[in-house]
Symmetry: C2
Subunit: 209 residues, 2 copies
DNA sequence: CTTGCATGAGACCGATCGGTATCGTTCGGG
DNA sequence: CCCGAACGATACCGATCGGTCTCATGCAAG
C-alpha cells in the first residue's frame, strides 16, 4: 500500500535509504531506539515499524526480544573494540598515544551521546540480573577493556599500572555520566586535559617528591 | 508524623515490623524495589504487595506512579545532601576533609550498591525525556552537588577549582559504574587513594615544575 | 453510640506487552 | 518456468501494565 517497492528496476534514488536486508534494518532500528529510549521502553512493534518491516520478520531473525538486545549490545561492543584495535595498530609502540586515543574517542563521542548516555551504562541499569546473557556480555566487554588498559599502562611504564588503569577508567566512565546528567560543562575538553595530566604525573620520573 | 504512634500503647509485638503508616511503608517498598530492579521493571502492584497494602492505598497517597518515582528520588537526593551537610558542619574550615569525606561516603557505599548501581545513574537511564520531572530533579541535584564541590575546591585553595571539581566528579561517578559492572576490583580503596593523590597534586605548591 | 474517614480486598477497564498463527505476495535459483 | 523460501500484513493470544471503582471493615473523635 504505502511507498514500498518504488522504481523496482533502475531504482534511481532508492525508495528511502537503499533498503538493506531486513535483518540489518532491524538491527539499525534497534540501535536507534534502544539507545535513545532504553530497552524496556521500546516494544518489538516499534522496532519493526521503524525498520519498515513487521514483527513476524523480526521473529524470523531473532528468537526473542532478549536475543535482539543481546545482538545489539554485541555489535556495540565490537564497534568499541574495533576502534581500540585501530588505535593500537596506528601507534604500535606508543602506549601513551593509545591511551590518549581512547580518551579522545570517548571525549569526541560525548556531545553525540550527551543526555542519551553510554549504551552500556544505560543498559546495565535495566539488567539487574547478573546472570542475564546481555549483562554478562557487557561485563565481559568491560573486563576486557580494563585488562587492555592495564596492559597499556604497564607498557607506558606508568608506576602501578593497575591503579593507573583504574583511575583512567573512572575518569572515562565518569565523564560519560556527567555529560549525560549535565552536571559538568565541556566534559570532553576537560576529560582530555585531565587524562593528559594523569599520564604526565604517573610517568616514571616523579615517584618521590 | 513518621516515627509517631509506635507502641500505641501495649501494642504487643506489632504484627510484623512495627508497621509504619501506609505512606511510609509504600516509600520503603518503592526504595527497595526501584533501586534493586529498576523503575520500569517494577509494577505498582508489586510495590503495594511488598508494602503489605493495596494498590488503592497507594493511589490515595500518590497521584500516579511517576509521582511516586519522583518522591522516591527526592528522598534519595535529600539523603545525600544531608550526608554532605553533616560533613560540612563536622569540618567547618577544612574543605579538604569535606571532599575526602564525600569520597569516603561514596567509597563506603560501593560494596552495598555493587552490581545494583547508583540510583541516579540507573534511573536517568530509564528517563530519556529531559522534561520529565524526575529527571529534572536528578539533574538539579547533580548540578547542586557540582556547585558545592567546586566551592569546596576553591576554599581548599586548589588551582583551577572548576577543573578539580570536574576531575573529582568524574572519579566518583566512574567508581560507581565500574563497581557496578565489575571491571575494577577494590574500587572503594582505589578511589580513596586516587582522590587523595589528586588533592595533593592540585594543592597550591606544585603549580610549575 | 454514631458519624466520618482512611484503609483493605478485589473486581474491573482499556491499552500494550512479547510472542504466535494464518495467509497472500514477491522473487531468485534450479 | 516454476517452486520454495522469505517477506509483508493482520489478526490473535494470554499476561500484565497503570489506573479506577465498589464495598466492607476497623477505628478514633464527636
Amino acid at each position: 500500500m504505502e511507498g514500498g517497492m518504488v522504481s523496482t528496476e533502475r531504482a534511481g534514488r532508492q525508495s528511502r535509504v537503499a533498503k538493506l536486508p531486513p535483518r540489518e534494518r532491524i538491527l539499525d532500528a534497534a540501535e536507534e531506539l534502544f539507545s535513545r529510549e532504553g530497552i524496556k521502553a521500546v516494544g518489538v512493534q516499534a522496532i519493526a515499524d521503524r525498520a519498515e518491516t513487521t514483527k513476524m520478520a523480526l521473529y524470523r531473525h531473532f528468537a526473542t526480544k532478549d536475543a535482539l538486545v543481546e545482538e545489539w549490545l554485541r555489535i556495540v561492543a565490537a564497534d568499541y573494540t574495533a576502534a581500540f584495535d585501530r588505535l593500537e595498530t596506528a601507534h604500535p609502540d606508543d602506549p601513551r598515544a593509545q591511551i590518549l586515543g581512547m580518551a579522545r574517542f570517548i571525549a569526541d563521542g560525548l556531545p553525540a551521546i550527551s543526555h542519551r548516555g553510554c549504551p552500556f551504562i544505560n543498559s546495565i541499569a535495566e539488567l539487574p540480573d547478573r546472570d542475564h546473557p546481555a549483562r554478562q556480555l557487557i561485563e565481559a566487554h568491560k573486563a576486557g577493556q580494563a585488562r587492555r588498559l592495564t596492559d597499556q599502562c604497564a607498557r607506558a611504564r606508568l608506576a602501578d599500572p593497575d591503579e593507573a588503569a583504574a583511575e583512567i577508567t573512572f575518569l572515562l566512565e565518569g565523564a560519560q555520566v556527567s555529560a549525560q546528567n549535565g552536571s559538568i560543562d565541556h566534559a570532553g575538553e576537560r576529560l582530555m586535559r585531565i587524562v593528559e595530566a594523569v599520564l604526565d604525573r604517573r610517568s616514571a620520573a616523579d615517584s618521590a617528591p
